[in-house]
């Protein structure tokens, strides 16, 4: 009689990549919900259309690379990329903009590098930056939140905005981050009072969206989908930078730490983007450095850069640094002194 020969271990934990990705999708729901409440159905349409394009691109790439479709589509990673891009893009973006972004993300940033696991850059952020550089106008027009406009677009409007972009006149408004950047001469309190975009702690709508993503992120942490190191380091360093340059709320102030934590893509970035394992540093210490670096970069770009939000650029720069971070943060192996490095 001949029995099977397989290598140990013979038992396996319940975890799977598919499960990880599905939980990430699930955890984004509160954030997406809040965005929809405040800014209408634009984000939802973005996500759905992005998902369709992402699956098509993924299938195309897999087919070209002669990989089994079902097996690789099953990891749901394309859907996560679509989700992140759909949320990051302005609501009511035209279909072609989204399609170009998703195609760059999936085809260029992911499959050109060899597919999932081999991409040095976060695909969604690559897609975002490609669009930002190529179509700055479309990328910087954000819808006004509920409360500042009477008619928040419904589902039909959103679909029309996406697929028949000529027939839809999107109302746009500067985001709170824009307002702050363009501020000249107003004390923080006055700015807060004058500009309608500001809410209790940060921008109207934005603050709640950020809190909702924070909640989703905490759930992911609780489910141990990722470790706390990168997000916490990121948020802490961003807050620290903001505190350093807060300047007591003067007209030269860069905004309060709380404002920065609850503005733009901060929480989305902290728990859904920089936690993308593929393109981040690998060790625990490495992830602390990685997160902190992103926090600093986000602040620098927000304060002195020329773009509506900084998370995408900051993440890409940090992706670039990840191999170096890895090299210098190799953990100490059992029974070893701190690892010897061949210093360059």
């Amino acid at each position: 009689m001949k029995l099977l020969r397989v290598s140990s271990p013979h038992a396996h934990g319940p975890n799977s990549t598919q499960r990880v990705m599905q939980q990430v999708l699930l955890a984004s729901l509160p954030g997406v919900f809040v965005l929809t409440v405040f800014f209408g159905f634009g984000t939802l349409v973005n996500i759905l259309w992005a998902a369709v394009v992402a699956l098509a691109c993924e299938s195309l790439a897999l087919w070209l690379r002669k990989r089994p479709l079902g097996f690789y589509l099953g990891d749901c990673s394309a859907l996560v990329t679509a989700l992140l891009l759909g949320i990051a893009l302005p609501p009511y973006a035209p279909w072609w903009l989204i399609a170009i972004g998703v195609a760059s993300a999936i085809l260029m940033a992911k499959h050109l590098y060899g597919g999932l696991g081999y991409n040095p850059f976060n695909p969604a952020m690559v897609g975002y930056v490609v669009l930002l550089i190529s179509f700055p106008v479309q990328m910087t027009s954000w819808a006004p939140p509920r409360g500042l406009t009477e008619n928040v677009p419904g589902l039909l409007d959103a679909l029309r905005a996406c697929f028949l972009p000529g027939q839809f006149d999107a109302i746009t408004m500067a985001t709170p981050l824009d307002v702050l950047r363009q501020n000249s001469g107003l004390m923080m309190d006055d700015l807060w009072a004058q500009a309608p975009q500001f809410g209790r702690w940060a921008g109207i709508g934005w603050e709640w969206a950020n809190l909702a993503f924070l909640a989703g992120g905490l759930w992911l942490l609780y489910r141990r989908i990722f470790t706390w190191h990168a997000p916490v380091a990121f948020l802490a360093s961003l807050a620290l930078m903001a505190a350093l340059f807060y300047d007591g709320g003067s007209s030269a102030s860069g905004g309060s730490p709380l404002f920065h934590l609850l503005s733009g893509a901060t929480m989305l970035g902290a728990f859904f983007i920089i936690t993308d394992p593929v393109s981040s540093a690998v060790s625990v210490r490495g992830r602390l450095v990685f997160g902190a670096l992103i926090g600093i970069l986000v602040y620098l770009i927000r304060a002195w850069g020329n773009y509506p939000d900084a998370v995408a650029f900051a993440v890409l720069i940090a992706n670039l640094c990840a191999p170096f971070i890895d090299h210098y943060t190799q953990p100490r192996t059992y029974g070893h002194r701190p690892p010897a490095r061949e210093d360059a």
């Binding site: 009689m1 001949k2 029995l3 099977l4 020969r5 397989v6 290598s7 140990s8 271990p9 013979h10 038992a11 396996h12 934990g13 975890n15 799977s16 990549t17 598919q18 499960r19 990880v20 097996f71 690789y72 990891d75 990673s77 597919g115 999932l116 696991g117 081999y118 990722f226 470790t227 394992p277 593929v278 981040s280 690998v282 060790s283 625990v284 992830r287 890895d326 190799q330 953990p331 100490r332 192996t333 059992y334 029974g335 070893h336 690892p339 061949e342």
Partner: protein, 573 residues
């Protein structure tokens, strides 16, 4: 309360231990035939001292230790040696190895054992170690290192802590647990012997907190002996020697070193009982406790098994249904290896036979890409970066692998267990380790043959030089003779004439060397001859399929000679 330490990482796989704990230890009985591999331990195989056809009694020596790191094999029951031949053995390679096959007579008659000492404490330590060695004891937790060797190295160090390894952290296995429950007193007797040999400052028995009965039994058996039972939270792999040491002492065994280097000796509870049997009762190691479990057996449990019992016999004692399982694992689900032949025997290191159904332990799904999630690094008890090791292993980057401490991987499987992409990480590490070891060996061999080749070259040159020197000496002697003769020549014309003739001859002899042209021609000739010889050797080497290194070296020599020849020809051309 003793301060406990934690080790990095670790996992909590389902324990599945209750299945095999419902009944006390059962004797497995005597099968028709026992198969005793000569190598059931780490180190050199034992050398048979019996011949086929010979009658043997229970406990009789069948094969003796063949070197310092080796262990003898004894007859587990009485019978006839029917063969000494290759049989399938439980080994990760799945290969066969030399075994002594014993036809059992069912009478189970003991050989007359040497009388045990009235009190072992009166024996010298070396004599005690001798007894342990002669009993054939090898680490029974799974590694199978000869116990006497470990203890001997312990006596060379100052040992402050003796650790008795009882966590048995692998799922399913309960052999040690049942031993501790049922034979705590025997364990303590063994521990007393070990204590006597090593004289440690303290003795700790380490256990996971999932074995309350065993803890109770041990505490009861200890009484007022200076032995402490230390209980810590259940976490795999707390039973790994290095991890256990860290939990109990907070110290780490240096990479590449031994626990004895930091004043610690670790022994498994099963080994302690074997030591007690050997020293107190004079009995060699001929049986062990083995867990038989998995859904493909109807009555899982722990068995006292004669070494050499074919696995299928043991499985049948537990109600094995071979149609329900396509896999037989020796050891636990995390670190055990599959045994392709159920006729392979139970050996000294067989702590568990696991026959899981496909539903129970499903075969892994196809591996997906590594998403670098880092879960593996979080789980790794050696604080390695398994995802990086995986990356380098696939790229066969040996240098990077060693730089990332591949050889500190204990192959515990925690990384593969948590990996969401189902990558068989450990398999990659094993292959990479084997590759690197092979590379090192090849390198050594090549180095060796290079040295041999160089030594040969040097010898040839030296011989040539010696011949040259002899020729020169002869010449000098001749000259001297000629001179001496010339000096005497004034008196004897005949002698003088002879001397003159000799001198002339000597001059003639000297002449060719003096003539540069002739010298060059001779050198050329010599070089040509050398070249021809070397070319022939090169051709031979190639034809014989010699190692690359030798061929390259020969090629280099040929080239050198060709160059030399060319340079010799140049001035005349």
């Amino acid at each position: 309360m003793r301060k406990l330490f934690d080790f990095h990482g670790g996992i909590h796989p389902p324990e599945n231990k209750h299945q095999s704990l419902s009944e006390p230890i059962r004797p497995a009985g005597i099968p028709r035939e026992l198969v005793l591999p000569l190598s059931q331990h780490t180190g050199a195989a034992a050398a048979p001292v019996v011949r086929p056809g010979e009658q043997v009694l229970k406990g009789q020596l069948l094969a003796a230790a063949s070197s310092l790191v080796s262990a003898p094999v004894h007859a587990p029951t009485s019978g006839t040696v029917s063969a000494i031949e290759e049989r399938p053995v439980p080994h990760p390679s799945g290969l066969s190895a030399p075994c002594i096959v014993l036809e059992c007579d069912g009478e189970d008659r003991w050989v007359e054992l040497p009388a045990p000492p009235a009190d072992y404490r009166e024996l010298e330590i070396p004599a005690l170690l001798e007894r342990i060695r002669d009993a054939g004891i090898a680490g029974m937790g799974g590694a199978g290192f000869p116990t006497a060797v470990k203890l001997t190295s312990g006596t060379h160090h100052h040992i402050d802590t003796l650790i008795i390894n009882g966590p048995e952290c692998e799922p399913y296995i309960t052999a040690d647990d049942s031993l501790m429950r049922e034979r705590a007193a025997d364990i303590l007797e063994g521990v007393a012997v070990l204590r006597h040999i090593l004289r440690p400052r303290e003795v700790l028995i380490g256990l996971e907190d999932n074995k309350p009965e065993a803890i109770e039994a041990l505490r009861h058996a200890i009484g007022d002996q200076p032995v402490e039972v230390v209980v810590f939270p259940t976490k795999y792999p707390s039973g790994g020697e290095k991890q256990l040491i860290e939990i109990l002492t907070g110290r780490q065994v240096p990479s590449g070193g031994l626990p004895a280097d930091i004043g610690i000796v670790c022994q498994n509870v099963g080994t302690a009982v074997a030591v007690r049997d050997a020293v107190v009762h004079g009995r060699p190691l001929i049986s062990r406790i083995t867990t038989v479990t998995g859904e493909a057996v109807a009555r899982p449990g722990n068995f006292e098994v004669l070494l050499g019992t074919p696995m299928h016999y043991l499985l049948e004692q537990a109600g094995w249904d071979p149609t329900r399982s396509g896999r037989l694992v020796m050891g636990g689900p995390m670190m055990g290896f599959t045994v392709p032949h159920p006729e392979a025997p139970v050996i000294k290191t067989s702590n568990c036979l696991l026959v899981p159904t496909e539903k129970e332990l499903p075969s892994p799904p196809p591996a997906q890409a590594c998403i670098r999630c880092g879960l593996c690094a979080e789980a790794c008890p050696a604080s390695l970066l398994p995802q990086q090791l995986f990356w380098f292993a696939r790229g066969k980057e040996s240098e990077k692998l060693e730089q990332h401490n591949l050889f500190d991987c204990i192959e515990c499987g925690a990384c593969a267990w948590v990996c969401p992409s189902h990558i068989p990480l450990v398999q990659y590490y094993r292959a990479a380790k084997a590759d690197i070891i092979q590379q090192r060996r090849d390198h050594e061999k090549a180095e060796h043959s290079r040295l041999r080749f160089e030594a040969r070259q040097a010898r040839l040159e030296r011989e040539e030089a010696e011949r040259e020197a002899k020729r020169a000496a002869r010449k000098q002697a001749a000259e001297k003779r000629a001179q001496a003769a010339a000096a005497e020549g004034g008196e004897d014309p005949i002698q003088a004439a002879i001397a003159r003739a000799q001198a002339k001859k000597a001059a003639q002899q000297q002449a060719p060397e003096a003539s540069p042209e002739e010298k060059a021609a001779a050198a050329r000739q010599a070089a040509q001859a050398k070249l021809a010889k070397m070319q022939k050797r090169l051709a031979d080497a190639r034809a014989a399929g010699e190692e690359d290194k030798i061929v390259t070296a020969l090629e280099a020599s040929v080239k050198k000679l060709e160059e030399k020849l060319a340079s010799l020809e140049e001035p005349t051309a």
